[in-house]
Symmetry: C2
Subunit: 259 residues, 2 copies
């Protein structure tokens, strides 16, 4: 295989946007050996001297690529996509909540959704991040699978309706879970308790479900119907969290009764 | 130091009860080099041929020890303790929710609370488990600190009022968090999505707060006041979880406004 042929086998990609997700994808694709990252489009300056890929500020400067990845805020994706008049290529978005049809384009459509909570500048190990992919036809799906596999072995075929539910489930296991941590921290702080004491329990709670279904792993006063402990808890809980405690306790108990 | 002196320096301990917590403590103390585990009291047979320590079925068979650890269900502790008429010793319970005064005894009292969710037969690495300790006087506190340190470097002095709040906080970060996982799993199952796709996010959410305060780590549609996504979520969420979604979203947003 001479070098020209090799380059042809590599997937050529350009990234449109340079927010959180784009930043991580650019870093990851630059490091991937089988991806030919061609350009990054961003209207504003890019303050990153480590950036190797070419930066363009105008859509008219974009050269042909097999895949264009739109990585901009959800509410801007549809309108932005209307400006892309490339024909023989696959254009994907990276949003968990938007359907494939959010792309208003003439070319082939796809979704390339990395399911993780990204923070800028915090290094991400992509090999542990699942990708939910979707496309209109099986060859584009295979192309997206190859693209995703260049970063991670965890690739799932998820359609638009499933992806919405997945995004919603992620709100529960990420956003709402983090809020439970916040309440735990606040209870510690207002009682002069070092929050660090809870961190091993937090970690173990997350690790436990790698082997056990969360349904089987449920413990605590609610699932035990331990009314005395529940009443004691409600007595010492600040007013603002009483409704949450009661609602979650009742909901856990309803689930037990269903079984 | 001859062996007799050495034995005198070791802390002598007996464990009363043989449930989940007791089972793990027995294993751990048998492995600890500086603890002299003397007896385990349990009215029923112990089906464990690896058990090295002597098992007694009658309280009258208990010989003197420096520390007796009561590890039985919370609601049985007070009444059980009344039967213990030892004088020159420290008797502790292992409950997160009961005060020191739950021990109805003549001898010195303490609490030795390992803050973790135990499952029988699942090996526990005690060196990662925090102990919350309490005693009536500083020498007993020092004794309990030495006892805890024989298993873990993570030892916290926590009084009865704090421990109740800590136990309550643990319900949020363990029981309620696990319930969020359960909802996430149910949303996946009813939409034919492999729940494994959420596990890396679950893990990252827990690991994130080792470096970031959960308050700073909060992301998602609630904290962004992203009304469109919230409404979309509520439209596709099963009725039974709508109230939880709305209440937690509102509560997250109230917290943001307070800042």
């Amino acid at each position: 295989v001479n070098q020209l042929n090799y380059l042809r086998l590599m997937i050529s990609v350009s990234i449109l946007g340079y927010g959180n997700v784009a930043w991580h994808l650019v870093n990851a694709f630059e490091a991937a050996t089988d991806i030919n990252l061609i350009q990054v489009y961003s209207r504003s300056e890019i303050n990153n001297k480590d950036l190797k890929v070419a930066h363009v500020k105008e859509l008219s400067q974009l050269v042909p690529a097999q895949i264009y990845i739109i990585a901009i805020p959800d509410d801007a994706i549809s309108n932005f996509s209307k400006q892309l008049d490339f024909k023989d290529c696959l254009i994907v978005h990276t949003s968990g909540s938007l359907p494939l049809s959010a792309l208003k384009i003439q070319s082939r459509k796809g979704v390339f959704y990395p399911l993780q909570s990204f923070s800028k500048n915090k290094p991400i190990n992509f090999s542990e991040i699942p990708f939910a992919i979707e496309a209109d036809n099986s060859s584009d799906l295979a192309l997206l699978k190859t693209l995703a596999n260049s970063l991670s072995p965890l690739v799932y075929k998820i359609d638009s309706i499933q992806r919405k539910q997945l995004h919603l489930a992620a709100v529960f296991v990420n956003n709402f879970v983090n809020y439970m941590y916040t309440i735990g921290e606040e209870l510690c702080q207002s009682n002069d308790i070092d929050f660090n004491i809870l961190k091993p329990l937090i970690k173990e709670t997350a690790l436990k479900i790698e082997k056990l279904s969360p349904n089987e792993a449920q413990t605590g006063p609610a699932v035990r119907f331990d009314r005395e402990t529940i009443e004691n808890h409600l007595q010492i809980l600040p007013l603002e969290y009483k409704e949450i405690y009661t609602l979650l306790t009742n909901s856990i108990q309803k689930d037990v009764k269903k079984l």
